[in-house]
Symmetry: C2
Subunit: 419 residues, 2 copies
């Protein structure tokens, strides 16, 4: 047991939103209220940008109803950013803000770039002898964080995509005259976790259900094989439903549909994989129609069809982050550990932030079927538990009534930030 | 009261599927079971194509559970087609099949092209003195049928789209740094009914909620005005969410993003309106990112977020079609008539098939705000009741468990169809 550390909590959200990142926020707030060592519960607006600008809000001032609503509200209620702390002056400013507001507990929900940021803040505090406990909360639809069985956000995105595929399949089967190729593009820059999840749309023991073909970044794309794959399916089925991850690469490792833009972290900005495949169909298979669906940001925000399991685990991760920090842990991220039982169980653990920051979890090659375009039972066994249960969204006047924070500002005490 | 007519029912589905066309089918089957004049309940596979090919199935052989599941199963359980009966030989074949199977009641769910087909079949039967009662069931996400307040399928598609817009708005607001234009492309070839429905995503009294800009086929598109509209929103909001109907036209009436393809009815096959607007942003607003979502066929199949009101009305339309035919009505389509009360009520009526076949209901220009990019209270008062309530989808293993017909074939008695 570590020494008591009395002070304030700061919680932030970073990177791309998910359907359940706000559930983690609700978990942090609810748990923080349980501990006498925690005095104030602050949130920073727009991730580290809010720290730099001293844009803090008082989360204890929010209503119970709002906190409950966060459990099924998509987006990131605090706002998020993709700003990368680089300059030493920025890191110093973060510590200055922490000291000014007596922040002793810092919780940061995000992916590996965000955990890297948290790690660096933690190490700077240690170097300066400032008592601070930093715990990361896993968050990403991409499911690419190491040391955790899966990430909050993933279960919901694949539940949404599988539901959508199953619905489109009903539609396409009804129209079927062996001449329709339906191409659904999903997110996934470096790994095929999201595209792979669409395999759940198949009913058990019905290997010929849609999706018929799944193209993953893990398997080098060949236009010739694609055209042959489509022809094979169209011979057998009324239509061919293709799922493609945006990060599809060819044998040389180049994106098949790369734009020449990069984001703040230097990642290539993608898009257009579906149109690329549509073009291949039209050029190579005369008389065959190809139609595209691009779910884009809708997929990471689809709280109305969120996974209850995912939302509950996201909430749990927030709670456990607080508990770990109170216990004296720091510089770690909460992880989800799957039990060895026949029935799915999950416990939480902790892993060093640096380990998370520097790793990327790839979709295991042995979970992809030999044909390269479908997932085998190992993947299905892994992913099926993650989509179980439906979130209880509140509807008002026919639409989901999402929570909105009142955002009561904490008074600024420092000079304005100079970029 | 007309004379009793004893014989068999044939029901078919035509055109693009919706989230609730199967609810109408369930309504027909359930109601048909109530009437002693009805002996067998058959369905034709793939619309009129199934009649030509004598591909009939015995719907009374389906389980009660399956019929109940149809109420929230998307697609068209019987299959559908876009085949247009043209040759006299085709019409004669339809009558031949009807006579061979003693079809005395024909129910056809579809849009105006389909009601036109039903009308022609009915008139041919009359000309030949064959006693047949033909009742159409309205069906189209496009909401463009005349003589009916709205069409089954419309409420569900706009509930799905409004939900999606509200979710994407949560996501985009979280990321907001005044440089994101999010463009969501929705269906709607000739009318902006679907795009207009996205206006429901705004909370009451919150005119600045997303969607910020709605581009409809009813308003001639100007690239200059679009760029100015986007700039105006980005000055005020953290992001700009644009909804665009696929059938956007310029001042000369030409599609802004027309492909050079046509379907079997000669309609232009569209797509690419979102990419067109994305290009305008990138070319005219340096530094502003534009991202696209194309919901495609997902939108007309999204039963998991279907409107309960819509599903119930679709079921009712199926029931009332049977009741009308038993009463002796023919050559009419069931219509939905809104009550004059403060609270929304709906009754059914009947309108001549020929009236439906030849009309197209346009979105009233006076329901579009003066700015041309938002809907006023008249539209909201019209559309809000249509999305009320949530369908009770059955989930199995984390995903919607949709109904599938056993499709017990009716023995063929005629020579094969020759096209």
């Amino acid at each position: 047991m570590s020494e008591d550390l009395v002070g304030n909590v700061l919680v932030g959200q970073s990177g791309g939103p998910t359907a359940v990142i706000n559930a983690s926020l609700a978990g942090v707030i609810s748990e923080a209220l349980n501990h006498v060592d925690i005095e104030e519960i602050y949130g920073c607006l727009n991730g580290v940008l809010g720290i730099l600008h001293e844009d803090l809000i008082d989360l204890a001032a929010e209503s119970q109803q709002t906190i409950r609503g966060l459990k099924f509200t998509p987006g990131a209620a605090l706002g998020t950013c993709r700003y990368k702390l680089k300059k030493q002056a920025d890191f110093d400013r973060v510590l200055e803000v922490f000291k000014a507001h007596n922040i002793r507990y810092f919780f940061y929900a995000g992916g590996n770039d965000s955990q890297d940021t948290a790690d660096k803040i933690s190490k700077l505090a240690q170097a300066q002898g400032y008592a601070l406990r930093v715990i990361g909360i896993p968050k990403t639809i991409d499911n690419d964080l190491v040391s955790t069985d899966h990430t909050p956000g993933y279960g919901s995105v694949i539940k949404y995509i599988s539901t959508t595929i199953r619905e489109i399949a009903c539609d396409n089967a009804a129209m079927g005259q062996h001449d329709l190729v339906q191409i659904v593009e999903v997110m996934g820059r470096n790994a095929g976790w999201i595209a792979a999840g669409s395999a759940l749309a198949k009913r058990r023991e019905q290997p010929h259900d849609a999706p018929h073909l799944i193209y993953l970044p893990e398997v080098a794309f060949s236009a010739e094989k694609f055209v042959a794959d489509v022809q094979r399916v169209l011979k057998r089925e009324k239509f061919c439903l293709v799922v493609v991850g945006e990060g599809l690469v060819d044998a040389d490792g180049n994106y098949v549909a790369a734009a020449d833009k990069t984001d703040a972290f230097g990642h290539a900005q993608l898009g257009g994989a579906a149109e690329y495949l549509q073009g291949l169909v039209e050029q190579n298979l005369p008389g065959i129609k190809a139609r595209t669906v691009k779910l884009g940001m809708a997929q990471r925000a689809a709280a109305h069809i969120g996974s209850k399991t995912d939302a509950e685990e996201a909430y749990l991760a927030g709670q456990m982050a607080v508990k770990a920090a109170i216990r004296g842990e720091t510089d770690k991220m909460v992880t989800l550990l799957r039990g060895d039982n026949e029935h799915y169980t999950v416990e939480t653990g902790l892993a060093p932030l640096s380990e998370i920051a520097n790793g990327v979890k790839k979709l295991p090659r042995e979970w992809i079927s030999e044909d390269g375009v479908s997932m085998n039972h190992q993947f299905l066994r892994y992913a099926t538990p993650l989509i179980q249960g439906e979130t209880q969204v509140t509807y008002e006047n026919g639409l989901p009534a999402f929570a909105r924070l009142d955002k009561v500002s904490v008074d600024k005490v420092l000079p304005a930030y100079e970029a």
